[in-house]
């Protein structure tokens, strides 16, 4: 799309920046990467009142231009790096009107970079109610920039903001906020001269951030280092001086423009909620009740839509079997692609429910209370209160959760969080657990309300959290700390969840899951189908020849004969041969070669398990009757003993394997991307596989 103006959105976390971004761009947005770094770059397009199109870039929320985490470091680069042509024409700084003082710090920093600025004063409705009177005209005059009062939640003032963007000056007109040169006169002057930087604040930031800025050359960075020594520049002292100067400016500004009603320490609603939700006893009770509710919801709410999807696929497969001529192609479509697809799509309801509930917890501000309550415990085991969010997010998917560890400033805390997050029972394990639990756990209620299947699933989830905590505790002693950890964090006021946002997240995540998992599953299904339909050498021909002999054709019905042939062929196919090769290794865990095939193909992605099972057991199913995977597995018998294959011991041993093993190519890739070192994902893969094997072994022999 051709754009006429590039606009960056900048603001503190919890100021409604993402809501504003969604309103401005609608669903017309995409997620990419900033060049050279793995920070998500959300961009979208917005039509302005004068007919031009603005490209809107949503920069990560930050309290200051001094980065404390990986995500935040992108903000200064985008605003100052002129070399890549990414610098926006205009910055919209979004300020929370009910919390102006702290919000203004970032404004003064951005304003001093001398890019044209428009201020969006959000939540004016909230600040009005709190008795905060802002003289907006005077405020705008003192800053020298347009100030537009808006309410992103209530969708008011947006048109005015759009016209302010359209008619913004192309030159920066904002007032200077503080005297920057006086902070570090010598070094600022020299950097300005040597590096052709006009702006004194950019020069000062180069001195502060040169080690982490990717756009500086090594020579430039070394030269700045040298200058720092010459001028005895102390980064933290300079920053302290600057911050104090900025707050002096802000206090003067607010003194003139904002009048607060005298309601001294009025008990706010948020405070009352906090009294209960972070209460000594109720706090934890409520937290665990919420977790239990989530798991029960995943199981019970999804039952009906899941059976609908399942039946739809059975119907599709039956229909395809009628229409398509029998042969390898129809078998590929029915037993390969359709079986594999139904294995993924059937879990959309559960994944959607999980993502919706997690996004509600984040949106309301409850998640940061969980962080607050859990910090002490988490610190004991080598983590950080902030690790709670990736760990809970890990229930949905390890990939975005590992990316969200970027908010953890401390290197060691972050690494341990990355290492243990894949242990948390993600949504891809859900299909495997659901299938196996419904096979072996009776559908009964205990204590009236708790369904036994739901309890078994909850147990798997609790186990996953405990294992993550224990592994973290061990790693605490292995890894060496690089810097001090700290926990200085805003507790945002409680808000109602934005339902549109929840629905959008639910839709977006489910779509991503289906597309990503779908690709892998179809690929694996096709490969698997090929491997099970063809065998090495002339084995298949020999089987056909053997069963064509009269002693078989005369004594057996054609139906049972074709079943025997099919299962002989499966055993002699490439997949069967391969399964037999690994069988000795997995036999101690209670698995046969068929499960072995599923196990190995699941190393691409766990959810492949269900599709693989469907493909492998489709051989034994009744040709006239399309059955669900569950029925097929239920009827599976051990050919030697005639006993069912999936006993309690085997099912739980399998679940243990899936609970601990690193069977996810995407996670391996993202861990590499986040750590930039192959040894991390390698170590993770190794320890998780070892854990998986041990746990399965113990559980199988215990339950057998």
């Amino acid at each position: 799309m051709k754009t006429n103006i590039r606009v960056a959105l900048v603001g503190n976390p919890n100021t409604g920046k993402s809501t504003l971004f969604n309103i401005l761009t609608g669903l017309n947005q995409k997620i990419g990467n900033f060049p050279g770094v793995t920070v998500d770059k959300k961009t979208g397009f917005c039509t302005l009142p004068d007919g031009r199109t603005a490209e809107i870039i949503d920069l990560p929320g930050t309290y200051s231009i001094y980065p404390k985490s990986k995500d935040e470091s992108i903000v200064f680069s985008v605003l100052a790096d002129k070399s890549k042509g990414m610098v926006p024409d205009l910055v919209v700084v979004i300020l929370d009107a009910s919390n102006l003082k702290r919000n203004l710090l970032l404004y003064t920093q951005v304003a001093d970079l001398k890019i044209p600025v428009v201020v969006a004063l959000n939540m004016v409705d909230v600040s009005d109610k709190a008795g905060i009177k802002i003289n907006i005209d005077l405020f705008a005059k003192k800053l020298g920039v347009p100030v537009v009062p808006i309410s992103a939640r209530k969708n008011t003032g947006i048109d005015k903001l759009k016209s302010a963007i359209a008619f913004a000056n192309s030159v920066p007109l904002q007032q200077d906020t503080i005297d920057i040169e006086s902070i570090a006169p010598g070094i600022i002057a020299q950097i300005k001269g040597e590096m052709q930087v006009e702006n004194p604040y950019i020069a000062l930031q180069l001195a502060h951030q040169h080690e982490t800025l990717s756009y500086l050359s090594a020579a430039e960075s070394d030269r700045i280092e040298q200058l720092e020594r010459e001028h005895s520049f102390h980064s933290q002292k300079a920053q302290a001086t600057e911050t104090i100067a900025r707050y002096n400016f802000i206090n003067d500004l607010l003194y003139d423009t904002v009048k607060k009603a005298e309601t001294a320490h009025d008990e706010t609603i948020s405070n009352k909620i906090d009294k209960i939700l972070t209460h000594k006893v109720f706090g934890f009770v409520i937290f665990f009740a919420i977790l239990l509710f989530i798991f029960q919801a995943i199981f019970s709410w999804s039952e009906y839509p899941m059976s609908l999807i399942e039946n739809l696929f059975i119907w599709l497969q039956a229909g395809a079997a009628k229409i398509l001529p029998a042969g390898p192609l129809s078998s590929l479509i029915i037993d390969g692609v359709l079986a594999g697809l139904s294995g993924v799509l059937v879990f959309i309801p559960q994944i959607a429910i999980l993502f919706a509930l997690i996004s509600i917890l984040e949106d309301t501000g409850y998640m940061s209370r969980v962080t607050f309550m859990m910090d002490k415990v988490m610190r004991k085991v080598g983590l950080n209160g902030k690790s709670v969010v990736p760990l809970i997010g890990g229930f949905a998917c390890a990939v975005p959760s590992i990316m969200s560890t970027r908010t953890i400033e401390n290197w060691k805390d972050r690494m341990i969080t990355i290492m243990v997050t894949p242990l948390v029972a993600c949504s891809a394990r859900l299909p495997v657990y659901t299938l196996l639990i419904s096979l072996v756990v009776p559908n009964r209620n205990v204590w009236w309300i708790f369904n036994m299947k739901g309890l078994a699933l909850t147990a798997m989830y609790v186990l996953s959290i405990f294992s993550a905590i224990i592994v973290a505790f061990v790693m605490k002693f292995i890894l060496k700390a690089r810097e001090r950890g700290y926990f200085i964090m805003e507790l945002p006021v409680y808000r109602m969840p934005r339902w549109k946002n929840v629905i959008f997240t639910m839709y977006d995540r489910s779509k991503t899951f289906v597309l990503q998992a779908g690709k892998v599953i179809i690929a694996v299904s096709v490969i698997l189908w090929v491997m099970k339909s063809y065998g090495p050498g002339d084995r298949f021909a020999q089987i056909d020849k053997q069963y064509a002999q009269p002693q078989y054709t005369k004594t057996m019905t054609p139906d049972s004969l074709s079943k025997v042939i099919a299962s002989e062929k499966l055993e002699n196919s490439y997949a069967g041969v391969f399964g037999h090769v690994i069988e000795p290794v997995i036999k101690p865990l209670g698995f046969d070669w068929k499960i072995g095939i599923a196990l190995i193909s699941s190393f691409a992605a766990r959810e492949v398990f269900v599709g693989t099972m469907a493909t492998i057991y489709s051989v034994e199913g009744d040709a006239d009757k399309m059955q669900s995977v569950q029925q097929k597995m239920h009827e599976a018998k051990n050919p030697q003993t005639g006993e069912p294959v999936f006993t309690l011991a085997v099912a739980f041993s399998l679940m243990m394997f899936y609970a601990f093993a690193m069977q996810c190519a995407s996670t391996v890739a993202v861990v590499y991307r986040e750590t930039k070192d192959w040894r991390w994902p390698a170590a993770q893969f190794a320890y998780m596989t070892a854990l998986a094997y041990t746990a399965s072994f113990i559980v199988y022999h215990w339950l057998k």
């Binding site: 702290r102 972070t278 309550m373 200085i488 805003e490 006021v493």
Partner: protein
């Protein structure tokens, strides 16, 4: 007196910091000399604590609070 010595509901005014690294981070978040701070709650396990400062709630660990000297 240190901020970490206050009880829930008590207020104080920040005077100075004993730790430069912490002070930079705290000041960015609006907790700087001259500001009034009030202990608004303590986490169920006794640490961290939440203070209200500059019109919002900030949580920090007891150790971090002990680097803040009050007037």
């Amino acid at each position: 007196m240190k901020l970490s010595q206050l009880e829930i509901g008590e207020t104080g005014i920040v005077k100075e910091f004993t730790d430069l690294e912490m002070s930079v981070k705290l000041m960015e978040m609006g907790c700087l000399p001259g500001e009034e701070v009030r202990i608004s709650r303590i986490a169920p396990l006794g640490d961290p604590i939440a203070i209200s400062v500059s019109g919002y709630q900030l949580s920090l660990r007891r150790f971090e609070a002990s680097t803040i000297i009050l007037q």
